[in-house]
């Protein structure tokens, strides 16, 4: 197991390094950074001066090495727009995004897994059809539209929940539902398919032949095996939610990192965008790594491969 973790850790580090390089290159791919920094009215000499000042004239690899060094010590550069260190800017916003992401995936798992299991136990029953309907609806309905409906119903009509902001836990209820609902269909379908497959397997028959109770058969022997692919999916979705909560953060005016990314793109605030991409990618890598470890713990066959 330890060996497995070390291997995965190394793989994660390699991926992280690659991603950081790509994210660094973005700065060059998106045009001349010196010109962007100097502003539209700057003269050619000004741009050249800035180029030397910021070191943009040096070889790209040297710049990358330097950038990586400072990124590792927590220095992600200065925001062009806020004139503040990007690292602290992101740190301020990350809390909201993390909270939202964790609540979203928890909500999705807590609703989708039981529904998927119930649907698999009784295929073609009412509950199976209901869950199918919900997942089709979930896939078809855009987040912003669903969010607006919730706001209209719960904030405007009944006045139960605040429509925007992030100051209390109540502010997070609707965003959690919208974000979680987006992840639900895939988790539910995968749980259902996995459970159906597992429940018809020979070892489930063995468990019954031993005299195990139905609950024990379903959960100890069944779900334990069916959940393995769901873990990987949930990790991918968690990573996606952190970066992809932009829409939800905008609807509910939650000023998280997703919202910051959206704003910064509009403002051409390159260091901020670059750093956000890096941070989101790192989260993605971390979650995938955690999922791999969890999977290996759940599935002994994976440990040896």
């Amino acid at each position: 197991m330890l060996q497995f973790i070390l291997k995965r850790l190394m793989l994660a580090a390699i991926v992280a390094l690659t991603v950081s390089f790509i994210s660094f290159s973005l700065m060059f791919l998106s045009g001349d950074p010196a010109a962007a920094l100097a502003g539209e009215t700057a003269s050619g000499e000004d741009i050249e001066a800035i180029r030397t000042l910021y070191g943009f004239d040096r070889p790209m690899l040297v710049q990358y090495w330097e950038w990586l060094g400072s990124a590792l010590t927590g220095d992600l550069g200065q925001s062009y727009y806020f004139k503040l260190p990007v690292a602290s800017l992101i740190a301020d916003r990350l809390g909201v995004t993390m909270t939202l992401g964790l609540c979203g995936i928890t909500f999705a798992l807590l609703t989708a897994v039981p529904l998927g299991v119930a649907a698999a136990i009784r295929p073609n029953s009412f509950i199976d059809r209901l869950s199918l309907f919900m997942s089709v609806a979930g896939q078809a309905m855009p987040s912003f539209w669903f969010g607006l409906i919730l706001i209209v119903v719960f904030s405007i009509k009944f006045g139960m929940l605040p429509p925007s902001g992030a100051s209390t836990w109540k502010h997070f209820i609707m965003p959690t539902i919208v974000l979680g609902y987006y992840a639900m269909p895939a988790i539910m379908r995968l749980t259902r398919a996995g459970m159906l497959d597992v429940l018809s397997s020979d070892y489930i028959r063995t468990a019954r032949a031993k005299g195990a109770s139905e609950v024990r058969v379903l959960f100890k022997h069944g779900l334990r095996n069916a959940i393995i692919p769901v873990v990987s999916l949930a990790a991918v979705q968690m990573g996606f939610m952190l970066g992809g909560s932009i829409v939800v953060e905008s609807i509910f005016a939650l000023h998280g990192a997703g919202f910051l990314a959206w704003e910064s793109i509009g403002r051409n605030d390159l260091p901020t965008v670059q750093a956000l991409i890096l941070v989101f990618a790192m989260f993605y890598i971390v979650f995938t790594f955690l999922a791999d470890v969890l999977n290996a713990w759940l599935d002994p066959r994976m440990r040896s491969s």
């Binding site: 070892y203 028959r205 468990a207 032949a209 195990a212 022997h221 759940l298 002994p300």
Partner: protein
């Protein structure tokens, strides 16, 4: 006479299929005393696995099971509550399946799975269960038993997995073991070894066994009783010695074409093959099901078929001796 351990009368299994109802098993009778071994033989698809699953109460939900009587140690299995049935399963009767590669749960160690079989039924602690697991692994011939407990199924070969399955079935010291072709999926070189192990253990522990096998040599050596199954019916049943010495039903004689004798039949000799096709069992089935392949079929074979009984030996055919005389089989 002592009450039989298992008594089955008129067991019927129906499976709804797209084109109607598949009458997979149609009114079979058999019984088994304590310590006896019954071998069920018959070609693929004749309903042997379904019959054993029906006894264990492990049939899929869609399959309809009906029986006039199906008792285990005097208690009726068909009307038993799910809870009572769970106590029997794995405790007093257990089953070894045809598929050793997939019958163990990949997520748990074999130690966990062995111990579970005991802990579900007996009020013992984990230490005692562990000790019992080691004892049985040794009994089924697994070396370094203690270190195997922590291994996962994927780390074991098919032969070892089937040994584990056998150990698991024996954990609670059941009164009846149902072994459904326990070696068919294994390498030919170890089939005989595993079967002999199973048979020795059954004798040693004085358990009753239903053994489903294609290996006539094994049948000749271990069976007290033989039941010959064809297309969902038991066409001939009786004491093993009678069946081998005096097979009456034409189907049985087809199977035993080389007339094997107890002790003389070579190990591993396969059942004989008979040309022709098995009729569809969907919809009404009447008359003798073997008539599409029988050399002695006559018009009367479409009607109800009389049963001929001599002691415990019984078979169903329109001919009183199943046209035995026509084949000049030495008596």
């Amino acid at each position: 006479m002592t009450e039989p351990l298992l008594n089955v009368r008129n067991l019927k299994l129906d499976i709804p299929v797209a084109s109607g109802t598949l009458h997979a098993v149609r009114g079979i009778d058999f019984d088994l005393k304590r310590g006896e071994t019954l071998c069920i033989v018959g070609e693929s698809g004749s309903g042997k696995s379904l019959t054993s699953l029906a006894l264990m109460g492990l049939l899929g939900k869609r399959i309809v099971r009906k029986a006039d009587q199906m008792t285990f140690d005097g208690t009726e299995l068909t009307t038993m509550s799910a809870k009572e049935l769970r106590k029997l399963r794995g405790g007093r009767m257990s089953m070894i399946f045809q598929e050793p590669m997939t019958s163990l749960n990949p997520a748990y160690t074999i130690g966990d799975q062995l111990m579970e079989a005991l802990l579900l039924h007996k009020p013992v602690g984990r230490e005692a269960a562990r000790a019992r697991a080691i004892e049985l692994l040794e009994k089924v011939g697994i070396t370094a038993a203690e270190s195997r407990l922590g291994q996962y199924p994927h780390q074991l070969s098919g032969g070892l997995r089937q040994r584990v399955m056998i150990a698991m079935a024996l954990m609670c010291g059941p009164e009846l073991i149902i072994a459904d072709e326990p070696t068919t999926a294994l390498d030919v070189t170890i089939q005989a070894q595993i079967l002999r192990l199973l048979v020795d253990l059954i004798r040693e522990m004085n358990m009753a066994m239903i053994l489903i096998t294609h290996d006539l040599g094994v049948v000749a050596r271990v069976a007290d009783k033989v039941a010959v199954m064809y297309a969902g019916e038991l066409v001939e049943t009786g004491p093993a010695a009678d069946i081998f010495a005096k097979p009456c039903h034409p189907y049985t004689r087809g199977l035993l074409r080389c007339i094997p004798l107890p002790g003389k039949t070579e190990r591993g000799s396969e059942l004989g093959t008979i040309p022709g096709i098995v009729p569809s069992l969907v919809g009404e089935v009447s008359g003798c099901v073997f008539r599409t392949r029988c050399d002695y079929a006559a018009d009367a074979c479409r009607n109800a078929i009389p049963r001929h009984t001599e002691g415990a030996h019984t078979f169903r055919c329109i001919h009183p001796d199943g046209m035995r005389h026509a084949e000049e089989v030495p008596a």
